[in-house]
Structure formats: C-alpha cells, structure tokens
Symmetry: C2
C-alpha cells in the first residue's frame, strides 16, 4: 500500500516541521519564524516546506496548537486550586520564551480578521479556554477562593483577557512580572473571599 | 514669513488627515485603513498623503493618539468612582467602533517589536495608562471599593490588560459584553471590600 505509506510519511514530516518550528521560535525568537529560517532548521527547501502547509500562517497556527497541547497536559487531573497555581507556573515559563509569546500576540491580533487562516483556531481556542476557566472558577468559588458575588463564566473571560493583555504589556516593558501579577490577582480574589491562596502573597516586584 | 506660513499649513493639513482617518476607520472599519482609502477620504493623492507622514503606520499611530486625547478628556476632574464608571462607558462606546478596536489590537501587537514606528508610542501609552490607573485604584481603595489587600499599581496593570484582552475576545466573538465584563470585575472588587459600586450589579448577559 504505497499510498498509505506516503501519507504516513507526510504526516510524520509535518509533525517534525511543527516540532522544529516550535523549538526555533522558542530559542531564536519570533524573528526566526520566516519560512527561510524554519526551512533551514528542518533541512528542507522553502518550496518543500510549503508543500506540507498551505501558508506560513498555517504552519504558525499549528505551532501554537502544539504548544497548547503541551501546556494543557500539565493541567490534567489538577484540583481547581492546583490548576490556578499551574497557570501561574505556565505564565512564568512563558517569560522564558518571548518568541512564542510574540508569536501568540501577533497571530491572535491578525487572526481577529475572519479571512485569516488562524481565525477558526482562535475562535475555538478562546471558547475552550473560557469553558475550562469557568470550570476552575466554579471550583475556586466552592472552596471559598472566589467571592460568591463573582460570576464564574465572566471571571473566566477576565482571567483569559488578563493573561493576553499582560503579554502585550510585558513585550513592551520586560520589567513587568506577568506571573506575579496573575498570582496577585488570584490572591486578592481569595483574600476577598476570606481565604488565602497557598501561593506567595503580596504584590509582584518589578525586576 | 512664508516658511512659517507653509509650516502652519502643513500642520493644519496633518491634523485634517488624522481627523479624516479617524472618521474613516470608525465608520468603515480597519479594512478601510489603506493609504489608498485614506487618501481618497481627504482628497489627496497617495504620494501626497505620505508627504505628511513617514509611513502608513506613522499615520495610524497618530490616529490612535488622537483617540486617546478625545477619550482622556472625558476623565478630567472625575472622582475615582466616576472615573471607573466612565471607563465602562468608554469601553461600551468602543463596541460601536470595531474598526478602531481592530486598529488598536493590530497595531499594539505589531508595535511590540522595537523596530515598529509605533513602539515608543505604545511603551509610553501603557506606562501612562498604568500610572493613571494606579491613581484611580488608590482612590477606589480609600473609598472602600477595592480590597485593602490589593496593590494599586498591580491592579492598574490588571485593569489595562483586562481591557486589551477583552478586545481580542470580542473581535473573535461579538457576543462577549466588554463593558459589562469590566463592570462585573469592578463590582466584584467593590463587593469584596464590603461596598457596592453604583453601577448595574450582576454578571453581563451575552448578546
């Protein structure tokens, strides 16, 4: 069955390109994300790379999707409070890969346009992030870490927006402590509910 | 003094172009923001338009700067609580001009790159927004509308991030109520401090 073999090889090559691109952008920054640089990293000609993806944007969306999968795996089976702590950890890790943060910020902004190849990905990603966030918020509320006046769905949209907005501010001002700011936000909500998050208290210190 | 006269005419023309561009983008959306469309709107040739601005990006930054001035004027002399209510109003108004929201989202993302002509504008804008926000947060804290555990500087970065992040979500999902979400955020903080914001209570309803 040569055709199935070919197909499998194609899938494997696609995966290899996505993995290599994720690594290149994480290590060399967003400016390394040209088709030329990415092709070089996987040892392919420019035209060959675009044989596996419809466009550069198409490949970049797959890179973000892969990162989502890796990040999501860290949240599996966690309690709402542990999930909130893991979120802070994920955001802190992001500060170590500015190229991926920039990729996300740039692509999410461009993809607000319905014609962008990444539009559907982002629409679905945000809907899923809000749904997962609402689940966590309901859990935090049940354990007294979120004021009872708060609406879990709405707080989820707020948390997601907060992460995105902080990324923009951080790219413009590297002294901003993204993880510490989110930690502070969660601890203010917890203390407002008369509880305490088991994270470092206090406001983040600007580096 | 013909040279000063020329200079004044140049300034006046620049202002006219900025005003017209703001109107075109507000009315026709971000896609109307091509040099061609903007030139047509002010009755100039493409090359003449670029005689007044170094680039399209340069003009678009000035459009955002003009909008900031118009928005800022609405906050003058307001108490912290009235300022918070005005913020909700401003965000609600933004939902009526998606083109300007898209312009802001796209340009702020692109301008995180230090080479972008708008980089300095955004660095300064965010520093100023956080400073003004911290002032408001301190005022809200004094009047019991923000929990005492909250750090005003940090809450200001959070509020600014929240507004930016919600814009992205709203462009991707028009049912999201940006103003209502921010109102909910402020009212949760107020109720967590044992007070009540004099705004509509409860969670926003998705349209």
């Amino acid at each position: 069955m040569p055709r199935i073999g070919q197909y499998r090889k194609g899938i494997a090559k696609r995966e290899e390109i996505i993995e290599a691109s994720l690594r290149v952008i994480a290590e060399q920054g967003y400016r390394g994300a040209t088709v030329q640089e990415l092709s070089k990293a996987v040892g392919l000609a420019k035209t060959s790379l675009l044989h596996y993806f419809e466009s550069r944007e198409d490949l970049l969306v797959e890179v973000l999707r892969r990162r989502d999968e890796l990040d999501s795996a860290e949240f599996e089976g966690l309690s709402p409070e542990a999930g909130a702590r893991q979120l802070v950890r994920t955001v802190r890790q992001n500060a170590g890969v500015p190229g991926l943060v920039e990729l996300f910020v740039r692509l999410s902004a461009e993809a607000t346009s319905p014609e962008h190849p990444g539009h559907e990905y982002f629409v679905e990603r945000y809907a899923a992030a809000r749904a997962a966030g609402a689940e966590t918020m309901r859990g935090l509320q049940e354990t007294g870490l979120l004021p009872s006046a708060a609406d879990p769905e709405c707080m989820a949209a707020i948390l997601v927006a907060l992460i995105d907005g902080l990324q923009i501010q951080w790219l413009l001002d590297g002294d901003l402590d993204m993880g510490g700011t989110i930690e502070h936000f969660l601890s203010v909500l917890a203390s407002a509910s008369g509880s305490e998050m088991s994270t470092t208290p206090g406001a983040p210190v600007r580096g």
